[in-house]
Symmetry: C2
Subunit: 292 residues, 2 copies
């Protein structure tokens, strides 16, 4: 690494619209509700540094609804299940700040509406992801399912004589290609297939830019929580184009030896990575370069 | 051709459900409405022999609505436009027998309902086909279009920021592959894509069986009107597997030289070909075989 190190920050690095909104709501909560306990149900976003910062301001993560009493609870951007929302509403003196991403909320409403109207609802997504757990809870259990591949489409859909009525949607962060593939497999079914493209392009835009950057940089840094699925995915994609791709949580994770002979470093960050962690990394990189 | 000629008649040869129903309605009309003039708007089906037989019983084809007065008019299985239906309803003393195929009627209703609800309606089909002329007439003209390839999808659908609401359906006789291809091209569009698989499998079943038969027979006969699009298509498909494939309208079209050295003849017929034309052909073939 020379003194003329070029640092390129991806335009799509960091907070997406829904995360920005959730973090803003959490940040403003201590002012809006002074002298009240403020809790988030689960980490507000999958980023330990942001969670720590909020804790310092009195916005505490809890995983147990039994801990909640009078005060304020913030529902995170992934959303929660219908059952959990109903339980929260019954807790006396509890104010609910719903920071569910509006795109996730829209998907929840689609599941509820389609299920109510008698459609078989198919959700493309990771069964264990909190967003998906929320989505499926809005459907009639008998007629709502989560699938991850076209092979999981029930065989009876193709055999039934009565025209089917199927509604299809996806976890907002799923790849468009998988959505197209599964919808394509459903098309020959007799009847109606109602496809809701609920995929948020923030994820795919970020991924495309990482691939593009990794193709023209000597080294890639992907910043984000180790518990952030979308950050891990960015790192994997980056590795396919640039073996010198590193996943870091903060500037402290940087190792000088990564940058030997490097002229250009590309930086991106997951949807839950705040701008200050990106800025801090850039500053640390510049220091390293000036020393070499 | 020897005396042991094997004749294989396709199970799917001839009248489909909608045509059978239309011809039955036309056949019963003289009894149900004695002493009344009975007209069909255009040929009841694309088969000259059936049209002739009906004419002999007083069920006459007309192409001009001005010729209609008190009496009976039969709407053929392809259906008619909404505007024409409205004009027919205003003719005093005219009884309307609606022999529109129920599958076509369902497609017309989908166009009307989706258009009413504000969807952009896309119909996959041949722009000049009477069924398609009927279908499109049920939509809001500004928001209803007929396309034959994925390339004809308006570019603005992919660019608009507001989530789209698109309803897709097809002329009942379109190939499933084309429907899948066009729906597949629409899937990435933001918003909702409502796919109605209005394709009737009678057509594709008949086509698959012709291909299969043509692959194992020495000679193929496809029976049907020269003006029948689906019969012409069957003949083309048959030719791809068996160069000795002949399109005939009646047994009179048979030529003994076609069957030189032939052991097995396969027979299929278009959706508008009556059973008696198939039977007549089989009888004529058997005669030819016994003579040789």
């Amino acid at each position: 690494m020379g003194k003329n190190l070029t640092i390129i920050i991806a335009e799509t690095a960091g907070f997406c619209f829904g995360v920005k909104r959730a973090v803003n709501l959490a940040n403003r909560a201590p002012e809006r509700y002074p002298d009240q306990p403020i809790r988030t149900l689960g980490p507000i976003i999958h980023n330990p540094q942001v969670v720590e910062q909020l804790a310092a301001r009195g916005v505490i993560k809890t995983d147990d609804i039994a801990e909640l009493g009078p005060g304020v609870v913030i529902i995170r951007s992934h959303g929660i299940t219908r059952q959990l929302a109903a339980r929260l509403e019954k807790i006396p003196g509890l104010t609910i700040i719903n920071a569910t991403c509006p795109f996730v909320r829209r998907a929840q409403e689609i599941v509820a509406k389609m299920s109510e109207r008698g459609y078989e609802v198919i959700i493309i997504g990771e069964p264990d992801h909190p967003e998906v757990a929320g989505l499926i809870s809005y459907g009639e259990p008998e007629r709502t399912r989560v699938i991850t591949t076209a092979k999981e489409i029930p065989e009876r859909f193709f055999q039934q004589k009565k025209p089917a009525r199927i509604a299809l949607l996806a976890q907002t962060t799923q790849p468009q290609e998988l959505y197209n593939e599964i919808a394509g497999a459903l098309l020959p079914i007799k009847g109606e297939l109602r496809c809701f493209n609920t995929i948020c392009t923030a994820t795919s835009d970020r991924q495309s830019e990482v691939l593009e950057l990794a193709g023209r940089c000597d080294c890639m840094l992907i910043i984000g929580g180790r518990n952030s699925a979308n950050t891990n995915r960015l790192h994997q994609l980056s590795l396919t184009r640039q073996p010198r791709s590193y996943h870091i949580e903060t500037a402290r994770d940087l190792r000088p030896e990564w940058f030997a002979g490097v002229d250009t470093v590309g930086i991106s960050a997951g949807a839950s990575t705040p701008q200050w962690l990106i800025d801090e990394t850039v500053t640390a990189l510049q220091k390293l370069a000036s020393r070499s």
